[in-house]
Structure formats: C-alpha cells, structure tokens
C-alpha cells in the first residue's frame, strides 16, 4: 500500500515536473492603484486568458524604477521583465544603458489599416527604448464650492497665481518641472520662448519670483494621490496632479471638484524592457508587449482610466467607462475641447538641466 502511494507520488512528481517547467513567470512593474487596475483589466487578464503558460506577477515599484533598475544592473541580477515608466525616466534609463533599445516595427503590431507601428505611434516614440502606452497630463483641479471666490471659477492657469480673486491654499508638485514653466507663462513669457528663458539663471530666478507670490499659500506634493485627497478634504482649493486622479475624484467619488485644462502638461507613460533580462524570456516578453500595445488593447485601457491611448489608431475606438457608463472621450487630455492650450515637457532640456535647476529650486523651497 505504502509502496503504491509512494510510486503514485513519484509519478505525479514526474508529470508535474515538465508541466511546471512550461509556465513562465512574467514580472510586470507598474504604479499600483487605479492605474495598475486598468492595465490588469485591459492587458493582463485577456493575455492570461489566451496564454495559460504565462504567469503574470505584478510589482508596484514604478516610482523607484530607475534607482532599482540601476541597483539590479550593478548586481547583475535583473528580476523584472517589463517596467512601466514615465517618458523622462525612460530617457534616463536609455541614457544609462539600463533599458533595451527597441526595433519598434519588429516588436509592435501594425495598425488595423496596415500603417507601421512607427507611423501609428508617431511623436509618442520619444526615444529608442520607450514603448508608449498612454498620454497623460498634469493639470489643475479646483473646488467648485469656495465661498470666498464669489461665484467665479478659474479659467486660466494664471488664476492659480491670482490670490486676490481666488484666495485659498494651493497644492503644487515638490519639484521644478512644470511649476517653472507655468510660472513663466503667467509672468508674460511666450510659450515658444519658455526654455530659452529658463536656460538663463535669471529666467529661473524670474520663475521662482513668480512662485514666491503664492509660496506662503502652497502645500507641496510628491505623490499623485496627495492633491486629490487634499481637494476632497477641502485642505486646498486648487492643485495640480495627473488628470486620471482628478477624474476619479470628480466622476467616481462625486466630489465638488472641477478640471482646469488650461496649459495641461502632456507626458507619455509606457513600457521599457530592462537590459540584461534572460535571453530565454525574450519571446514571452515580446509576445506580451506586442499584445498589450496593439490598437484594441490601448483603446480598452481607456475604459478604466481617463488617459489617452498613445496610438493614433486607438482614438476612434475609445468608448464608455466600464462601470460608470459615461463617454470617456471628453475626459481624455487629448480631446479637442481640452487641449486648447497645452505644454509638452522638453525632455531633452530637463535631462541637461534638471540637476542644477533642482538644486536651486530645493534651496528656494527650504527657506
């Protein structure tokens, strides 16, 4: 009897052996929260349904992706397969040689009308390592029930700097990027001259002087969830954050908050593949990326979060929110009604000047 059981167990072990060897783990790193959820629904679940042999492992470390990838690279032990990062971070990863260079037309599916991936993604392909997924924007939300405003609502980004008409606390990101640009725009610098002005020390000082006017009324954030929370609490009356977060506060939580789309700053978010992932895993990684970035999948993601798909061919397929049933197109940063005035981060300029400007900005903040 005992012998039989042991033989059975051994047999089961033999059978499980090759089966277990066939499943591949795919570690996907992303931002967590509502964003990871949208990727789960639009990419991971349909992919898993088609590929039972691939086991997707979610890791929510994207905010520290650059530092962790560098550490992994130095240790020679890459444990991530696909990593979701913002455009500027992908530039640094590419510069540091930590992200793989991609042959886009080989890796990515063409558009349904046969256009190549390169043509379909267009200007979203900001460097050789970055596979774009979405366009998101950093923009302002404000409370609609502020008594002190006397019925007025902000219509321009410069209203953020107007403490006389719109008194109350502001919430701004704790860093120079975007804030300096907005400050200069509202100090009378033309959009075309922004980075020329910022390239001079006087330009940075001019932007900081403009920010000085609201500094006592400003609370600074580091995580995207902070501004929505403070707006909902009434702790601030106006603040910048990612448009998807504001969508959640306005449409899902029904808070008295509205969007101010003026001079929203466009950014891309997408995948990079770390340099040094095991060669054996490459087919699975390539297969997943091809699936997750095709026209339909990118359009599907917009059912769960209000970020615009990075492919031109996905835009017509954007439909309604999966749970709320509302039309999503009007909530996209790329909607014509919302993109009257936009800014696009000059990634190249920031890659050069971030360290120096950051030091000036932090010294300004600390005092």
């Amino acid at each position: 009897m005992l012998k039989k059981m042991m033989a059975g167990a051994a047999l089961a072990g033999l059978m499980a052996g090759p089966l277990a060897a066939q499943t591949t783990d795919l570690t996907i790193v992303s931002w967590g929260g509502a964003y990871s959820n949208s990727q789960n629904k639009a990419y991971h679940e349909p992919y898993a349904a088609q590929n039972a042999a691939v086991k997707i492992i979610n890791d929510e470390s994207s905010s520290q992706a650059v530092a962790k990838l560098r550490a992994m690279n130095e240790a020679g032990n890459i444990t991530w397969d696909v990593v979701d990062v913002e455009g500027p971070d992908s530039q640094r990863l590419c510069d540091e040689g930590l992200a793989m260079r991609i042959d886009f037309d080989d890796w990515l599916a063409p558009a349904p009308d046969g256009a190549t991936a390169t043509a379909d993604f267009g200007e979203a392909l900001i460097n050789e390592c970055f596979i774009p997924q979405i366009v998101f924007s950093t923009t302002f939300g404000y409370r609609t029930d502020v008594a002190a405003w006397g019925g007025k609502t902000p219509t321009s980004v410069c209203d953020v700097f107007d403490l006389a008409t719109f008194p109350g606390k502001r919430s701004l990101e704790r860093g120079p990027k975007k804030n300096l640009e907005w400050a200069l725009l509202c100090d009378g610098v033309a959009k075309a001259d922004l980075y020329d002005v910022l390239s001079t020390p006087e330009g940075v000082q001019r932007a900081l002087a403009k920010l000085d006017t609201i500094k006592p009324e400003t609370i600074w954030w580091t995580a995207g969830a902070e501004t929505p929370q403070r707006l909902a609490d009434g702790e601030v009356v106006i603040g910048s954050t990612y448009n998807g977060r504001l969508f959640a506060v306005i449409e899902e939580q029904k808070q008295p908050v509205a969007m101010l789309w003026d001079y929203q700053v466009f950014d891309f978010d997408g995948w990079i593949i770390p340099t040094g992932v095991p060669e054996a895993k490459m087919p699975v990684i390539k297969d997943y990326i091809r699936f997750a970035t095709d026209t339909q999948r990118l359009a599907d993601q917009a059912k769960y979060i209000s970020y615009g798909p990075a492919r031109a061919s996905s835009a017509p397929l954007v439909s309604t929110h999966a749970e709320l049933g509302i039309e999503m197109a009007q909530h996209m940063p790329t909607d014509p009604a919302n993109r009257g005035n936009i800014l696009v981060n000059n990634i190249e300029w920031w890659a050069d000047n971030q360290d120096e400007v950051e030091a000036v900005f932090q010294a300004w903040l600390a005092r």
Partner: protein, 433 residues
C-alpha cells in the same frame, strides 16, 4: 580557611623560588607563557563562536555600506571610458592654450567610437552633467554625430557641437579625468571649484546642504528636549506606582511603540491638518476663526510633533529602567533629614537618574538625525531633513556619488557627537537597563 591556605602556598612559593627566576608551571615552561597559551585557546574558542555573526555582519552590513560610501570619491567611469582623452589632456592647461592639441580632439573621437560601440557614452555624459549642465545632451548628440565625422577631428567636433570649441568643456573633462574626485564632498558642503581651480562657495541660491545639516541637528535637538520633558514624568510614574497600575501605564507606552510608523504618522496628519480634528474642535469652541485655521502640519511644527510622539518610547524606556533601580528610601532619607520635596528630588533623585537621561537622549537624538519617513510625510518644505535629500539623490536624481558623500558626512557627524558625548558625559555612565 581557603584564604589562609592560598596565602600559605604563595608565601611558600615565594620563599622556595629564587627571587631572580621567572615563575614556572608544572612542565617547566614559564608560567606567563603557559598562561597566555591557555588563554589564547580560550580566546580562539570564543572567537570561533562569534565568527559566524561577525562574518554575517561584515558581508551583509559593513561591506555594502563601505562600498556605497566609497562612491563618494569614485570617478573611474571617466578614465575607464575615455582613456585616450585623459592621456591627451594630461599636460594641457587652460593657461597654456584655450583649446587642447589636435591629438586631444582625435582622442575624443576615438574614445567616442568605443563608447558608442559599448553604448556607454550617455552614461559618461550623465556623470559629467552632475558637474556642468549640458554634458548629458552633448554626449547623447555625439552618439549620433561622431560616426559622421570623417576628416579633421578638430573641425569635425566643433562643427558637430560648438561646445567642443569652448575652453570650459575641456576644463571640466580634464578636472574629472582622475580615478577619484573630491567633487561630491565639495557639493555636499555647498562648495564648488571655479575654472581656475579655486574652491569657493556655491552661488547663494544654490546653497542648501549646510543649511539642511544645521536644521536637522537643531530640530533633532528640540525633539530630544521635548521627549525628555514629556518622558521624564511618565517614566517616574511608571517606576514609582504600584506594579498593577504601572503595568497598565506601560502598555499605554508600548502600544503606540508597536504600532506601524506609517499609521502613527498618518494619524497625525488627520489630527493636525487644517480641516482636521484639532482645528475643527478649536473652530467649534470659537477659539479660532474658520478662515484662520492653524497650520500645524506640513511644516516644522508637524515634524516636531509627530517625531516627538514617535520617539517618546525611546526616551521613556531607558529612563524607566534606570529609575526602577533607584531605591525609594534614598529620597525618604533625604526628606527625613530635612530636605524639601524639591531638594530631595533635585539633589538626590535626579542625579541618580542621569544615566537614563543620557541613554535616552543619545538614542533619540541619533535616531531623529537620520529620520526619513516622518519628515517626508509631514514636514512640508520647512520640516524636511538631510536624509530626505539623500533619499532624493538615491531614487530620483540618481546622483549616488553625492548621496554617498552626504551620507558619509552624516555618519561622521554622528561619530563626532558620540565622541563628544563620551568626553563630556562618559559613555560608561549610560545605562540602557
């Protein structure tokens, strides 16, 4: 009886041995030697027992930290990737000629050829960009341009980017051509080098680290004083109340101690923010106008309140364990000899509790000087510490050299304080229990 025998034997030994010869063991070897041998064996055995732990600590703690700290002076990336340029610039200075020789230009082109092959050029560009803005895009651009340079390297480079025709570019390259650099440490104390090599302070609007070090020390000191003032009476109560009551009180001290740091910090945000519980109560009581709610968090006050609360147990517990050992009859004796309550406390009880104060203060101060998460969450801009900048350079700017230099300075600062404390108070006077 035993004493007497021992004495008798010693006396015998002394009288039996001639006074000049050394003491000998039974086998005839000098006693000192055989004693040392026996002790050495014991020492070896003891060492063998701690060796696994020692090895573990060395491998997992000391070596990685040492490796990290070493980055504060390391600069091998430049000489490793641009060896020809480094050699060609060896005897060039900006005084002899505004631009180096043709050989240096040729060396740059040759080095770039290899760096592009190895895809290292952007990495080297990033390193140099920490010292002078513009190198990042210059090196990235060269990745595209260098393969197109066919003829004269000098003309080709300057045509590709005019930065190669500027003295500053070459001065920076030459300055960071060595294997080691003091630049990170200079940055960490707000110093920089001018084009002619003199060490000067950074422009006023870029100075931040010295200020942050000073602020970290100052707020940590205030927190230490606050925990002492709040913790002393509690520890006294704990030590003097009957066991049943003091046990309940002890749980009240330990419960928050066991609660997650993040939970406690977030709780303070809920309490202290402008639309928070305390402000609501103050407005409801009419003490504060609704429009003028107090700003108690996201600034220095927030950091101080939250950290004082979080670090309080580290003051109370050492104080308590020392006070527990002070016999209550000393104070009673003082009073019976005519001392007032105050004199009895100040002259008799307090001096005996100082070892606990020392231990608590040094523990709280050193912990708070390196605190990171609470200042990050509740400190706003005026309440952040130097550790927050170190974390920023590790995770965001990726300037690990500067982060390592700042961390080394912080470590050195703690060591100096510890040494000073030892000199002033004496570390032997500290009791943790």
């Amino acid at each position: 009886m035993a004493e007497i025998t021992a004495q008798a034997i010693t006396t015998q030994a002394i009288t039996a041995q001639p006074p000049a010869g050394p003491l000998r063991a039974a086998d005839g070897a000098p006693l000192k030697l055989s004693l040392a041998r026996a002790q050495r064996r014991g020492k070896l055995r003891a060492f063998a027992l701690v060796a696994p732990l020692l090895l573990f600590v060395a491998l997992t703690f000391i070596a990685p930290i040492g490796e990290m700290l070493f980055r504060s002076v390391e600069n091998q990336i430049v000489p490793d990737n641009m060896p020809r340029t480094v050699a060609a610039l060896a005897d060039w200075t900006s005084e002899t000629a505004p631009l180096p020789s043709d050989a240096a230009f040729a060396a740059v082109v040759a080095d770039f050829g290899e760096m592009i092959e190895a895809r290292n050029h952007t990495r080297v560009g990033q390193r140099l960009n920490y010292e002078a803005s513009g190198f990042s895009s210059l090196f990235r651009k060269m990745g595209r341009e260098i393969p197109r340079i066919a003829g004269d390297p000098r003309a080709g480079l300057i045509e590709a980017d005019k930065a190669w025709g500027q003295t500053d570019t070459w001065v920076t390259l030459k300055r960071f051509s060595g294997n080691y650099t003091p630049a990170y440490f200079l940055s960490a104390v707000d110093l920089t080098r001018t084009a002619d090599g003199a060490i000067v302070q950074k422009p006023e609007n870029e100075r931040i680290y010295v200020y942050l070090f000073a602020r970290t020390m100052w707020i940590s000191l205030l927190i230490t004083v606050a925990t002492l003032l709040l913790g002393y009476p509690i520890a006294y109560l704990l030590a003097t109340l009957p066991l049943r009551t003091s046990n309940v009180l002890m749980i009240l001290v330990l419960l928050p101690f066991w609660t997650s740091l993040l939970v406690r910090t977030s709780a303070w945000i809920v309490l202290l923010q402008q639309q928070g519980v305390i402000n609501d109560v103050l407005v409801w009581l009419g003490l504060v106008a609704n429009e003028a709610r107090l700003q108690m968090i996201f600034n220095q006050t927030g950091t101080m309140i939250a950290m004082t609360h979080i670090l309080l147990p580290f003051m109370i517990l050492p104080l308590y364990s020392v006070m527990k050992t002070i016999p209550p009859y000393y104070v009673r004796a003082a009073k019976s000899l005519g001392a007032t309550n105050w004199t009895a406390f100040w002259r008799v009880y307090f001096p005996q509790s100082t070892p606990g104060i020392g231990a608590g203060a040094i523990l709280v101060f050193i912990l708070s000087i390196g605190y990171y998460i609470t200042p990050e969450l509740v400190g706003g801009t005026s309440g952040v510490f130097i550790s927050n900048r170190i974390a920023f350079h590790i995770t965001n700017s990726l300037n690990w050299g500067l982060a390592a230099a700042l961390a080394t300075l912080l470590l050195a600062l703690v060591m100096i304080l510890y040494w000073l404390y030892d000199r002033l108070v004496g570390i032997d006077n500290v009791k943790l229990g």
